[in-house]
């Protein structure tokens, strides 16, 4: 029995030794952008809130990247800075009561996450990319816009800090994706048209 425990412990230690767990951390800056005069509801699905990426690399073992927590914190702050008022929705379709207080619903999703290590790319850096898909619907359920934003990030690799470097690259990818959403949101013709309409409604009231 004692031998079995020792063997199990040894096996656990050996197996966990091959897995690099990456924690994504970083500051959450508030964007300096003009607020859109609209009340929006945001629905974050479970995959978005708890996004984890696991990958087994032949030469570099298993990698586990947990970015959901930092990603959702970043988006909550980002969305709060982009619109006059933001309500987080428990479901993609708001209740009739809540719908009457909103102008549109935004649904951000993570479609894909990928990373490269210096061993794979032959470069000095760890790099990460996140493919976000943003869907915007009006209160009648019509799709106003649907687009993809790709956030990129890279960070210098270190001899003993591979997990830290990939965490930084991932954080840079979240920031880059957020920056592109913040700056490019009103550049989309369909969103620009909707924003102009909201401005007119706002002025009428």
């Amino acid at each position: 029995m004692k031998n079995l425990i020792v063997l199990s412990l040894l096996a656990t230690l050996t197996l966990t030794g091959c897995t690099t767990t990456v924690v994504v951390e970083g500051t959450v800056p508030t964007p300096l952008v003009r607020k859109i005069p609209a009340r929006v509801g945001i629905f974050y699905d479970e995959n978005f809130k708890n996004f984890k990426h696991s990958e087994a690399l032949e030469a570099e073992g298993n990698w586990e990247i947990d970015l959901g927590g930092q990603n959702v914190t970043f988006f909550r702050n980002l969305m709060g800075s982009l619109f006059d008022s933001v309500s987080e929705l428990p479901e993609p379709e708001p209740s009739p009561q809540l719908a009457s207080q909103l102008d549109a619903v935004l649904i951000p999703r993570i479609e894909k996450y990928g990373f490269l290590t210096p061993g794979l790319s032959g470069l000095k850096f760890f790099s990460a990319s996140i493919h976000y898909r943003i869907t915007m619907v009006d209160m009648s359920g019509n799709e106003l816009a649907d687009w993809t934003v790709v956030g990129y990030g890279k960070s210098e690799g270190g001899a003993f800090g591979n997990d830290r470097a990939l965490g930084e690259a991932t954080m840079m990818a979240i920031r880059d994706g957020g920056a592109r959403i913040a700056i490019g949101l009103t550049d989309r013709p369909e969103v620009a048209k909707w924003v102009a309409r909201q401005g007119e409604i706002h002025n009428e009231n």
């Binding site: 500051t27 800056p29 508030t30 964007p31 300096l32 952008v33 003009r34 470069l123 850096f125 990129y152 890279k154 210098e156 840079m172 920031r175 880059d176 957020g178 920056a179 592109r180 913040a182 700056i183």
Partner: protein, 216 residues
């Protein structure tokens, strides 16, 4: 006394030879008040090269210290306070874009509040241009040792483009190039003779940048 001589000998022998060259190009008069600050930003692009964080850290440390320290604002703090305008893919590519950037809500106020007068964009990196030789270490039950000699040549090439945030102009540019060859000799124990061209380029650029900002 003996220890001092040994340390001096080690420092002379173990430091490889580096040659550095600095060039300055001035487009406008400068000058910095004691309360005004400089931000050093590493240019990041999505190709295979990027200015190393260690280089911008070295510059910040060299400029922030010494007899005539320059007031500095931390680059991460600066980027956070002006998010999303100084991210790798959104940062202004030239000083011509500054005027437009200052029209964004809160940007001018934020820069005024942080007292940043100049922005130094650092572009460049250190690369290994040549390597050769043969070096190996062995260990056995009878002992071990290293034999052989290997070398590698590094080239550090950096440029600082200085933007004046008060006038929305490029005040000038300073470039620093340094190269040197490092050796690793195996005489039972490995003896490294390291050239640090990156460090030499950093010191040269910092000295020139300080004088560029302080002199009109």
């Amino acid at each position: 006394m003996k220890t001092k001589i040994l340390l001096l000998f080690a420092a002379v022998v173990l430091a490889g030879c580096v040659t550095a060259r600095v060039e300055e190009q001035r487009s406008a008069n400068t000058g910095i008040l004691t309360e005004e600050a400089l931000v050093i930003l590493g240019r990041a692009s999505y190709n295979d090269r990027e200015t190393e964080e260690s280089f911008t850290d070295c510059l910040a440390s060299a400029l922030g210290g010494g007899d005539q320290p320059v007031k500095l604002v931390d680059q991460e703090e600066f980027k956070d306070s002006l998010y999303p305008w100084f991210e790798p893919r959104t940062a202004p590519a030239s000083s011509d874009e500054l005027e437009e950037l200052f029209q964004q809500p809160g940007v001018a106020e934020q820069i005024q509040q942080s007292n940043v007068r100049y922005l130094a964009w650092i572009d460049g990196d250190t690369i290994t241009t040549d390597r050769g030789g043969s070096f190996s270490c062995t260990i056995s039950s009878f002992g071990g040792g290293c034999f052989g000699m290997s070398y590698w040549e590094e080239d550090a090439s950096y440029e600082a483009s200085i933007w004046d945030l008060e006038n929305f102009t490029t005040a000038g540019a300073i470039s620093a190039d340094a190269n040197g060859t490092s050796y690793l000799a195996g005489l039972i124990v490995p003896v490294p003779i390291l050239a640090r061209p990156g460090n030499a380029a950093c010191k040269a650029l910092a000295t020139q940048l300080r004088s560029f900002l302080k002199d009109a």
